[in-house]
């Protein structure tokens, strides 16, 4: 194992994390809601969704559209991933986050910030399995 400590990457990640924290705080303190992205997205698939939920997802989409308009290149790794793998991964992520009531934002940021033991358990579980999966795919198979 080697550890890469790229100062620029670390700064980007810390800055991005702080902005994500501000967005989470804004939704909580203005709308009174938890910024769990998978949960908010799934609500839009059924009936009875609310304006703030549609607004939040539109905001995420707008961030990506804005990046494209500003000339930010799409990540090459996305285009390099075979469609069947993206489809399988999407299906598993959708099934799992629906069943487990949350993803990296809902359990990982909001749940941890709420000091929820339930979210802590979920984070340890999905993080551990994700690391195990990458290990198996890259170093065993």
């Amino acid at each position: 194992m080697s550890i890469i400590l790229d100062p620029i990457a670390l700064e980007d990640c810390l800055a991005g994390g702080l902005v994500i924290g501000m967005a989470t705080a804004a939704l909580l303190l203005l709308n009174g809601r938890v910024a769990g992205i998978s949960g908010i997205f799934f609500r839009l698939l059924g009936r009875g969704w609310q304006g703030w939920q549609a607004g939040f997802i539109l905001g995420l989409l707008a961030a990506g559209a804005g990046a494209a308009l500003l000339g930010v290149k799409p990540p090459p790794a996305l285009a390099a991933t075979p469609p069947w793998l993206l489809a399988l991964a999407g299906l598993l992520v959708g099934f799992g986050t629906k069943l487990g009531n949350g993803c990296t934002s809902g359990h990982g940021v909001c749940g941890m910030a709420r000091l929820s033991p339930r979210s802590g358990a979920a984070v340890l579980c999905f993080m551990g399995i994700a690391m195990l999966t990458v290990f198996l795919v890259r170093h065993v198979l």
């Binding site: 980007d12 924290g21 909580l28 069943l99 033991p117």
Partner: protein, 139 residues
């Protein structure tokens, strides 16, 4: 209407945060998950930074019933750690590890109409509908 506007701004800010941290790049996410390879711990700072800012906000919100705009504050009430939670988290972890993409970045990338992200988001929706049927049957 005001709720939709603040929701939009929060979503936009969240998306900008993901873009700054480059969480939209599967290669970067997979580098964090790959402990046995060239491990890049930067992703821990994304979560850590987010938690650091959100923590005082939640501590404040827990003591209030209404937001600054007068909306009711609704926090998740579930506390049980059961097989449904851990099974769901494990399946999510498997999917995340396979492609390095999770829901937030997938939606940001879908916003720029990246074909792979549109496919991922479509399957994300399908996966949740399957989970609904699964839980309805399991009771």
């Amino acid at each position: 209407m005001r709720g939709a506007l603040t929701g939009f701004l929060a979503g936009l800010l969240f998306g900008i945060g993901l873009l700054i941290a480059q969480m939209t790049d599967p290669a970067r996410v997979l580098a964090f998950l790959d402990l046995a390879g060239a491990w890049n711990p930067a992703l821990a700072l994304v979560m850590g930074g987010g938690i650091a800012v959100a923590l005082p906000a939640f501590a404040y919100a827990k003591r209030r019933r209404r937001t600054l705009l007068g909306e009711p504050i609704e926090l998740p009430s579930a506390t049980q750690i059961d097989t449904r939670l851990l099974g769901g988290a494990a399946i999510f972890g498997l999917g995340w590890g396979l492609a390095g993409i999770y829901p937030g970045p997938a939606l940001v990338l879908a916003g720029r109409l990246a074909p792979g992200a549109l496919l991922f988001v479509l399957m994300l929706a399908l996966g949740s509908l399957l989970a609904n049927r699964f839980t309805a049957r399991a009771g």
